[in-house]
Amino acid sequence: MIWIDSVMYDFPCDISRKVRIVSSDVSGMLMDRTEYNDALATYIDYTLKVAIPIDKMDRYTSFFERLAAPANSHTFRLPYNQDTIDIVGKIDSLSDVYFRDVGGIQVWRSVTVNIKALEPSKEA
C-alpha cells in the first residue's frame, strides 16, 4: 500500500530504495593524501515495481495519470525500516507494458516508477 499526494493506492508492489549521500564541491584530495569529503545530505530514492490486478485497471489509470502529470513534485508515503517515511520526490521515470485486452479491459503490467527524492531525509 502506498500513498501519493495523500491518495492511497492499494497495489501490491516491490519497493526498493537507494541511498544517495551528496557531497559538495568542497571535496577532494588534500596535500597529506587524505580524501576530504564534505557531505551535505542524504537522499533516499525509491523504485516501485507495481503489480496491477486486472480488476483494478481503472484505479491504475488514475495512478498513471497522477504520476504522468508534469508536476514539480509529489509527496510519497513509503515504507522506511519498521515505519513509514514521507518524502518529496519527482518522477524520474514511469514505464509500463501493454499486455493484452481481457474481456474489454486493457491490461498493463511491468509498471515501474523511479522516484528521485528532492528533499533530504538527513542533513549534515
Partner: protein
C-alpha cells in the same frame, strides 16, 4: 549561508559566488561583490544592502544590491557590490597636505557620501604631505592606503574597514590544502622607480611645474629614485615599473614604497592553491605560507580568495609578493594522557624558523562531585632546524565530541561514556 535583505532572510540559495580580493599595491581599490540566485518571489530592492551571513551569523559581505534579474516567478539573480563602487561617483576637490592626518583624509572619502566606515586601531595616524589632485574618493582612498601601508577590507565586516597590512604569517597545514598548489612565473622586472614630490608656495617661473589649490599656487619639485633587481639573467630587456603619478609620495616615504614595490615585482612567482576555508579564516591581504608539495614553502600575501560553498567552504587563493624557502616538516601530534595519538597535523615551515602553533585541548578539574571539562588553547613553540622532521607532542587530557547537543566522550582515562558527572562545556 544565508542572505538577509530588506528585513527578510533567504536560505534557499541556488547558487552563490563570492571572490573578495585586495591588491595592496594596485592602482585602484577592488569593488568586491557577491552574486547569487535565490528561490523567492520577493521584490528585490535595488540600492538597498544585502548581507551574506554564515550559520554563526558572522557577516561575510554587506553590499549594496546593484543588479537583479528575475528568471522565473520564483527565482531571481542578485548582484551586490561593496561601497567602494559608490566612492567612484563623486570627485573630491584638490588639496595640499602639510602634515595632514591620514585618518582625517580617509574619513573624508566616506563622509562625503554619508557612508559608514571604520578605521582599525592599528592604523597609525601617519602624516600626509603632498598634493592630492581633484580625484574620485575611490582613487584618493587607494593613494592614502598605499602610502601608509594599509588596505580597505570590505569582506567579513559589516562596513568598509581600513586595516594595516599585517606581516604575521599564518601557516596553512597540509590537511587544509588541496592537492596541489600551482606556481606560475611572471616576466622579470628589472627595476622599480618612484618619484618623490615636494611643494612650496610661491610664484612659479616659466620652467617650473606648479599646481593650484584654491587661490594658492605651489611650485612642484620632484626627484626620482629607483631600485634595480640584481636577480635577473644577463641580457634581460629592461622592464621597469614606474610609479610617478602619486603626488603624496615624498622624501620620507619613498624608500619604504620602493621596497614594497620591489617585494611585489621582483618576486615573480605567483602561487594559487585551494584550501579549506570554512570560517573565512584566510582572507585577502593576509600573509600566509603554503607548502608547494615538493620541497619549498612559499610565503606571500593573499590577493584573492574565490569561495566554493558546501557545508564547508573552499577558497582558491592567489598569493603575491611571494618568497620561496626550503621546507622543514613539522608534525603536531595530539595525544591524551595514555599517550595514544588521537590526531595529527603536518606543517611545513622554512628552515631555521621559529614557529608557534596553536592547538586546542580540554582541561579537566574536580569541583566536589562535579567534574568540569574546559576547552583550552595551548601554543606549541619551537624552531625548525636545517633538515629532517621535527615532531612536537601535545598532550590532551581527554577527547570529547559535542555534536547535536549531545556530549560524547571519545576517550578518557577516568570517566566513561555514560559518566553523569560531565556537567559543563564552557
Amino acid at each position: 549561508m544565508y542572505i538577509s535583505c530588506n528585513f527578510k532572510t533567504h536560505r534557499k540559495i541556488k547558487s552563490l559566488s563570492f571572490a573578495p580580493e585586495v591588491d595592496i599595491l594596485g592602482n585602484e581599490l577592488a569593488v568586491n561583490e557577491f552574486r547569487c540566485e535565490l528561490i523567492t518571489d520577493d521584490k528585490i530592492p535595488i540600492g538597498k544592502y544585502a548581507a551574506l551571513y554564515d550559520e554563526n551569523n558572522k557577516p561575510w559581505a554587506v553590499y549594496r544590491i546593484t543588479e537583479a534579474q528575475r528568471l522565473s516567478p520564483y527565482t531571481v539573480t542578485i548582484k551586490a557590490q561593496s561601497d567602494i563602487l559608490i566612492l567612484d561617483r563623486k570627485k573630491l576637490p584638490a588639496q595640499m597636505c602639510v602634515n595632514a592626518s591620514a585618518k582625517t583624509l580617509i574619513a573624508e572619502c566616506f563622509t562625503s557620501f554619508g557612508l559608514f566606515y571604520e578605521i582599525d586601531d592599528n592604523v597609525s595616524d601617519a602624516n600626509i604631505n603632498g598634493y592630492l589632485p581633484e580625484q574620485s574618493a575611490r582613487e584618493r582612498l587607494q593613494w592614502l592606503c598605499f602610502v601608509i601601508g594599509a588596505y580597505v577590507k570590505s569582506f567579513f565586516v559589516a562596513m568598509c574597514t581600513i586595516k594595516k597590512i599585517d606581516n604575521t604569517t599564518t601557516n596553512i597545514p597540509l590537511n587544509k590544502t588541496f592537492y596541489r598548489p600551482k606556481i606560475s612565473y611572471k616576466d622579470y622586472v628589472t627595476a622599480v622607480t618612484a618619484t618623490a614630490y615636494s611643494y612650496a608656495e610661491g610664484t612659479p617661473g616659466s620652467t617650473d611645474k606648479w599646481v593650484k589649490v584654491g587661490n594658492k599656487t605651489y611650485i612642484q619639485t620632484s626627484q626620482t629614485a629607483s631600485l634595480s633587481n640584481t636577480d635577473v639573467p644577463e641580457d634581460t630587456p629592461d622592464n621597469i615599473i614606474d610609479l610617478s603619478n602619486i603626488t603624496i609620495v615624498n622624501d620620507s616615504n619613498i624608500s619604504s614604497i620602493l621596497q614594497r614595490l620591489a617585494a611585489e615585482y621582483f618576486n615573480r612567482e605567483q602561487l594559487t592553491a585551494d584550501i579549506i576555508n570554512t570560517y573565512g579564516e584566510i582572507q585577502p591581504a593576509d600573509k600566509v605560507s603554503v607548502f608547494d608539495g615538493v620541497e619549498d614553502v612559499i610565503t606571500g600575501y593573499v590577493k584573492s580568495t574565490r569561495f566554493t560553498f558546501g557545508k564547508a567552504a573552499k577558497s582558491a587563493i592567489v598569493l603575491t609578493q611571494t618568497v620561496t624557502e626550503k621546507a622543514v616538516k613539522v608534525v603536531l601530534s595530539y595525544r591524551y594522557l595514555t599517550n595514544i595519538e588521537i590526531a595529527r597535523e603536518t606543517f611545513y615551515f622554512p628552515k631555521n624558523t621559529a614557529f608557534e602553533l596553536e592547538n586546542s585541548y580540554i582541561d579537566t578539574t574536580e569541583q566536589g562531585l562535579r567534574r568540569v571539562y574546559l576547552p583550552l588553547t595551548e601554543k606549541t613553540t619551537g624552531n625548525t632546524g636545517e633538515r629532517e622532521v621535527t615532531e612536537k607532542k601535545v598532550n590532551c587530557d581527554i577527547a570529547l565530541e559535542f555534536k547535536d547537543n549531545i556530549l560524547d566522550i571519545l576517550s578518557v582515562d577516568s570517566a566513561n561514556k555514560n559518566d553523569s558527572e560531565v556537567v559543563i562545556i564552557a
